[in-house]
Symmetry: D2
Subunit: 287 residues, 4 copies
């Protein structure tokens, strides 16, 4: 399985709306259908944020439970990865769906940074907030994931974030196999260059699994660079709405299909869901 | 002046006390004497935090003014660099000494991160706070430094922090010559390794001046690695209390003297203050 | 022209035969037709070795002259780059076609190394020779190219090869704009990894133009990695006979077409020949 | 033994003469005395070339045997490493002392390159030869070392040289523990920069031991950079005649003493010979 690459699909996120991109799913049924399209096109992992039916973010267990049911109906073996991020929501409300649903994975933000958007055209910042994840918060979420048997997908926006794993490993609350996401290109974090990706990968604890998450226009370059290094990749409407040719994607399936083509162009093959579970040492359904 | 290295001395900081290290200066007179020792031993830049006579931090203009006078009496040409960092103090109080005294340089924190201390022995964190420097704060301090004609010394704790300079350059409020400090080894930021230092240096805008600031025990290694790359260095009781042989330093002069020895061992020469002013394009006193 | 990538096509080489790949051109007419297919598919530079009509290598001026005429008939503006490499041939015979035809570019090998092929299956070496290019040879070829007004395309198989340019620059016989080819994946030289490509690029003199040449199966990965860095690329039957999907290429045009697709997938556009001439500061035909 | 650094002393070499540096040893007795000075100053490994009594190189077994006896008299436990390099001497004569004396280690050149010296002042090359080490030669020397139970010290002058180990490992004739020397700064090979050293170290097979060998004036910088990375180091009159302050060394002991000081300045300790044998898994004398 040496030449296999695991594709994640980030199906919906919280920011983009159907006004911006009609393919973005809101309801549990829509999310499940998008999940199916992504899996059919080559994805193995589905990263999901809950939404209300009007597209606003949802954080309640009930919505997550309906998503869980719908997704498992259409994609019974898919690796499910729920968001735990939110602004203005209590920690308890960010983690309760993990307790309740015990997904395969959940996102764990590994450090603090500025999270900003700057417009060179207008010479001003459009977002400018401090993305605050002190160790006590990381520890809180990690221990709840451990209790749920959920694998933390460690989201790292800069070099320091990767190394923030070290005290957690030393404390015995973070254990291998390690699952890292290298997020490239957020202003405030490490920029999306191949040189930076090579550096980030060089910093990982030995034997770690990793994927690249490229934000915005440079996503396809980061995806390509990661594949050339044998790394895993994430695409999906949460990260980037556009196909390589600049057209808006009509579904997550379109984006995953492009990713699969790129994987094959570079001499690799996307994993099946089953293979991804074996590689990542996640529970494999018995036949 | 190709083989010249500029040494900064961080004379006092805010954290360490005379209980920990008797050499730490508190009063303006003490700070000036330590500055003189540092300059005599090879330093060109003095990085200074104000203290009350009992060692507690001081933020008032009056204390800074007394420091300014005392230091200039003993070290008339020294490049003076004042801290602007503080916790629980208003922005205005962090910058008013720059307005008032128009020093050559002042420290400008370039991004946010966790700032933590972890004890492997006790398996717990001793500090764990979010060091928050959103762009609006960076912009605030930068514009006030510009008004004062003070060169911003950009303190970068991770790769993203270096690139946070880019929108500021694009807005036209940050102009060359650029002065970067690469701070290595704070938990939450980039670790103190030679590989990481090489990476940080590769990220700088072309033509930047840079120095390394290594925190704690690995300081001497980072200083040596920087010198091998022709970079500038900072030592001083703010960063590290110990001599290479493990003894506590009795003064900033001792630490600078060790740094000068290391600079010469590796085939370079410390600048005179006058040379440092020329290299950094800071005002040179007319004779 | 910031988002433009120059594609070179290495049309024929000397090793591969029509028994291995029926698309390989031998005669001047065949080479010109393959050149046309490559240019039509997005290439701007044609790298050419002469062949006898039976496929054996040719080194005589007459054959090169016929190639020159045929290629210019079909591709009047194409940037022409002739090989100067050969084993068992005098230096004079390796350079006389450059004197005679004054092509835009010619390949200049920049250092020595083992040039080997190892079979893991048979646990033995199939080729094992010392590729010897001492400085006196490099100087000889370079001075003859200078006389012909031909741009040296510096072929670098390892890090030292790049730096071998330094004494030549110092002697004043090598002048900007510099044109580097980073050849990755020959056993004896630097392996074909993205990390190594990043390192090689970091070593180039400022303002250099560079392309990657990946040998064999890893070519498409090196091509992709180079594009993500904004570098130029070379494909063609000399370097690799296979399409990304593993099928044998039926012509250089097929390979260039795939390269063009990859360039566009990653957000760049191949140059026209005219744009490539402008970027590289090569003579532009007046309209 | 985590903070231990192994120092090698290259006692004499073949090029430098007593006219250049009076401290260079020629006779077996002189070499042994220099070895003793090096060991007493902190070295654990002695790298030795044989010389005739007039300083010319010697390749005969008899001279090596006398060296072996004299060195073991004065430094009974020292790790002994004999040169196998020579120009214009048969392979058999380059290896016969290894057969006969079965030293702990012997130098094994791992690839080909230009080996040149350029004078910027005179704008000309003073040396310009192809240092030819094809795989068949590497294999020849390696198999003879294996037969003698001698550890190959793999001398790598560029990135490709490190990877030339891979087919030898695949063939089963090169086995761990691997011992690499990273030689920095020969014109034709990889230049002596900290960035390049970091890259070379990143290329080593996992678990390799390595030391840096810096040639000429930049040696002390490479030594310092290696120590900051926890790597081993080599100094000695073969590599560099000068102390950090620019004075000529009067003995190998002086150079090793400086190296030991630098090791300690950077928070490490030189190994004893006994510790070096344990770390490198070389035979340890029973008490
Ligand atoms: Zn998300
Ligand atoms: Zn400070
Ligand atoms: Zn060719
Ligand atoms: Zn030697």
């Amino acid at each position: 399985m040496n030449n296999k690459i695991i594709i994640s699909a980030a199906l919906t996120g919280v920011l983009a709306t159907r006004q911006q991109c009609p393919g973005i799913p809101y309801t549990p049924e829509e999310i499940a259908k998008e999940g199916k399209r992504a899996i059919d096109a080559g994805a193995s992992i589905l990263h999901i944020h809950a939404r209300q039916d009007n597209g606003m973010p949802a954080y309640d267990v009930e919505t997550y439970r309906r998503i869980d049911e719908e997704v498992k109906k259409l994609c019974p073996e898919a690796i499910i990865n729920y968001s735990t991020g939110a602004i203005g929501i209590s920690q308890e409300e960010r983690i309760h769906q993990i307790d309740a649903l015990q997904p395969d994975m959940a996102a764990l933000n590994m450090g603090s940074m500025n999270y900003a958007i700057y417009s060179a055209k207008h010479k001003q910042f459009y977002h400018d907030h401090v993305f605050a994840n002190p160790f006590k918060d990381i520890q809180f979420f990690l221990e709840r994931m451990n209790k749920a048997g959920t694998r933390p997908e460690m989201e790292c926006f800069d070099t320091g974030h990767i190394h923030n794993a070290r005290p957690l490993i030393d404390m015995g609350i973070l254990e291998p196999p390690f699952q890292f996401s290298l997020i490239m290109g957020v202003l405030g974090g490490i920029p999306a260059t191949t040189q930076n990706l090579v550096h980030q990968v060089s910093q990982l604890p030995e034997g770690s699994h990793w994927q690249v998450i490229g934000i915005g226009k440079k996503q396809w370059r980061m995806v390509a660079a990661a594949i050339t290094m044998g790394g895993n990749i994430r695409v999906g409407l949460e990260d980037n709405l556009y196909m390589p040719n600049g057209d808006m994607a009509s579904s997550n399936g379109d984006l995953v299909k492009e990713a699969t083509t790129l994987v094959r162009t570079l001499g690799y093959e996307p994993t099946s869901v089953h293979e991804a579970r074996e590689i990542l040492k996640l529970p494999v359904k018995q036949d």
